[in-house]
């Protein structure tokens, strides 16, 4: 009864093409925004915000990036961790070498540098397709890890290869508390999500999906394959770079190349598979799932068997991740987002059966 479109006639194309054409959806999003901006800081403990919400939001940004490349454009990438690393190190170098730069500009520039790197990595994508391209992204992943581990220049010549990030401030206001970091990241998330949503419903989004669905046909109707693929790499690595920079500055407060290894690339890939490839909502669902799973497992383990050694828990986690990936790919390849859409469809008819 609640979720109905009756009476909501879209009287213009503009209304039909809006991000949330259904009124109830708009209200829901506004409610979520209010909840996230106002309610959460009031009720959640610092531990929860710093330990779970902040990383969740950062992973969501990273997931949006990977989803654009792999979910929307169909280019499998195993090197997203490398993009995050490039973003983190770029931001560090910008912030420490040019302290006058405003921090938001630092993050955006870091994203831009990563985007350029992403275009380089994706440049063979016209000649090399499918698995081979995935292997190229793997090469980038290993190369970047090695580069940041080997050359002290990236950390300003410091003796230790892991270094703390400088303090941040916006227009004189120092960003120190957990809540400060939370709002900063939230700002990026809101703007980034909106931007991504706009892109995927525009011409470039259709071009990306066309390349994914049938790239030969796309070329025949005039879509330029190279430009489309490279733009996907660029936007994807921009988001990855910003996520990496935020990860370093707002979450772990240090730049550490081991934080962006192959397992991180696979983790983000799992997020978009479970959450739903080709869906912005899926990025959030997947990130939430991956962040929440270890917590849930821990709770269940406590209930059943007292203390389980963390090594064993980690193994069980691996098994569940792997098993869930296989499960989702078999049962619902479009992930939680599709399950959610199906549920919404049922909700529109409820309480009627059809």
């Amino acid at each position: 009864m609640l979720y109905r479109e009756t009476g909501q006639f879209k009287t213009s194309y503009k209304k039909d093409m809006a991000i949330f054409p259904i009124r109830q959806d708009r209200w829901a999003v506004i409610a979520i925004l209010i909840f996230v901006v106002v309610v959460v800081p009031m009720v959640a403990t610092e531990h929860v915000i710093a330990g779970y919400l902040i990383p969740l939001l950062i992973w969501a940004i990273a997931a949006i990036g990977l989803n654009i490349l792999t979910g929307y454009t169909g280019q499998l990438s195993l090197g997203h961790g490398a993009f995050m690393a490039v973003g983190a190190y770029s931001a560090y170098n910008l912030a420490s070498r040019i302290p006058e730069l405003p921090i938001i500009l630092v993050f955006l520039l870091a994203g831009l540098i990563t985007a350029i790197f992403g275009v380089l990595v994706g440049s063979p994508s016209l000649r090399i397709k499918g698995f081979y391209l995935a292997v190229a992204t793997l090469a980038a992943q290993f190369f970047v890890e090695w580069a940041f581990a080997t050359f002290p220049w990236f950390v300003g010549g410091a003796a230790s290869m892991v270094i703390d990030t400088p303090k941040m401030s916006i227009l004189g206001y120092k960003i120190t508390s957990t809540l400060d970091n939370y709002y900063l990241i939230l700002g990026f998330v809101v703007v980034g999500t909106l931007f991504a949503k706009n892109l995927v419903r525009s011409e470039i989004g259709r071009a990306w999906m066309a390349i994914r669905d049938m790239d030969v046909a796309a070329e025949v109707i005039g879509i330029r394959p190279l430009y489309t693929k490279l733009s996907a790499f660029a936007v994807s690595s921009f988001y990855g770079g910003v996520a990496g920079a935020l990860y370093a500055f707002c979450y772990v407060k240090s730049v550490d190349f081991t934080a962006f290894d192959l397992f991180v690339s696979l983790k983000v890939l799992f997020m978009i598979i479970i959450g739903g490839m080709g869906s912005i909502l899926g990025c959030f669902l997947g990130a939430t799932f991956i962040v929440a799973l270890p917590i849930i497992l821990n709770e269940i383990a406590h209930l059943f068997a007292g203390q389980i050694p963390s090594a064993m828990l980690s193994n069980i986690e691996h098994m569940i991740f792997g098993g869930l990936i296989i499960f989702f790919l078999i049962v619902e390849p479009h992930g939680l987002a599709r399950l959610w859409m199906t549920a919404k469809e049922k909700l529109r008819l409820w309480p009627f059966p059809h």
Partner: protein, 261 residues
């Protein structure tokens, strides 16, 4: 069918041959397609009809011979350039983007006409938004014309084959092409659907003046709507002319009946 005075030749094949390794697909095929006409390419299976279409729109490059389009000799034209120059086409097995809905699929056909860049699209403001709306209107006109309003938001992968073919035609029309290549546009359709498609094709030809080159197996359709017919067999042109003349050509009858030659 349009009776016309001496029209310009929009497409010319001059001794075109193409082979893939040991497989010779076309041998010294020559013909001319006058502007604003409906030309059908027919022939038994494997005659090289789809290959001819692929050569026209740049998917394959001929190993020999020249192709002239709009009066200019083409060298190594790629599909993207063919699209830019006003050639649109449909495919035998429906090359739609199965993950998108009808509107979006047809909107991709407008991509050559869209100018806004990535940044503007991301902000979805001003020029980018206006452009989307303008093109959406053009697409809706096509949806209206092809009578597929009811499946506007359906993911095309779920549509029946006949409707998919119609959507594909819509996508080709969205580019406002000068020449339309149709590869078996009526395959898998029942009588009513075929009549609808014929009507659409003729309307496009008569109202918009679009030159049509189509491959078709249904002889009654070919006879009804084409101005001119070209017959291929084993990669060679064996006949050409008005539909009635071709129908009665002994060589054509032999080819279809499988008389060895």
């Amino acid at each position: 069918m349009s009776e016309s005075q001496a029209d310009n030749i929009i497409l010319g094949f001059d001794n075109v041959s193409i082979s893939f390794g040991a497989v010779i697909a076309l041998t010294e095929v020559s013909f001319e397609v006058p502007e604003h006409e409906v030309v059908a390419i027919i022939g038994p299976n494997g005659a090289g009809k789809t290959t001819a279409l692929n050569v026209i729109n740049g998917v394959y490059q001929p190993t020999q011979g020249t192709i002239t389009y709009k009066g200019e000799v083409r060298q190594g034209m790629r599909p993207h350039q063919a699209a830019v120059q006003g050639i649109a086409r449909t495919f035998q097995n429906v090359a739609l983007f199965k993950g998108m809905n009808t509107v979006d699929n047809i909107m991709t056909g407008r991509n050559l006409k869209m100018k806004s860049n990535l940044l503007m699209q991301g902000l979805y403001w001003g020029p980018a938004q206006r452009e989307e709306i303008v093109h959406r209107q053009a697409v809706e006109k096509i949806i209206d014309f092809l009578e597929i309003e009811s499946v506007r938001k359906t993911i095309v992968g779920r549509l029946p084959f006949g409707l998919q073919k119609r959507v594909e035609l819509g996508r080709a029309l969205a580019a406002e092409p000068d020449m339309l290549l149709l590869d078996e546009p009526m395959a898998g359709m029942n009588l009513e659907e075929k009549e609808d498609m014929c009507r659409f094709i003729l309307d496009v030809n008569e109202e918009l003046g679009t030159t049509i080159v189509l491959i078709e197996h249904d002889m009654s359709v070919v006879m009804d709507i084409s101005d001119r017919v070209i017959v291929l067999d084993y990669g060679r042109k064996i006949s050409e002319g008005k539909p009635d003349a071709v129908r009665n050509d002994q060589k054509v009858i032999d080819a279809y009946l499988g008389v060895s030659h």
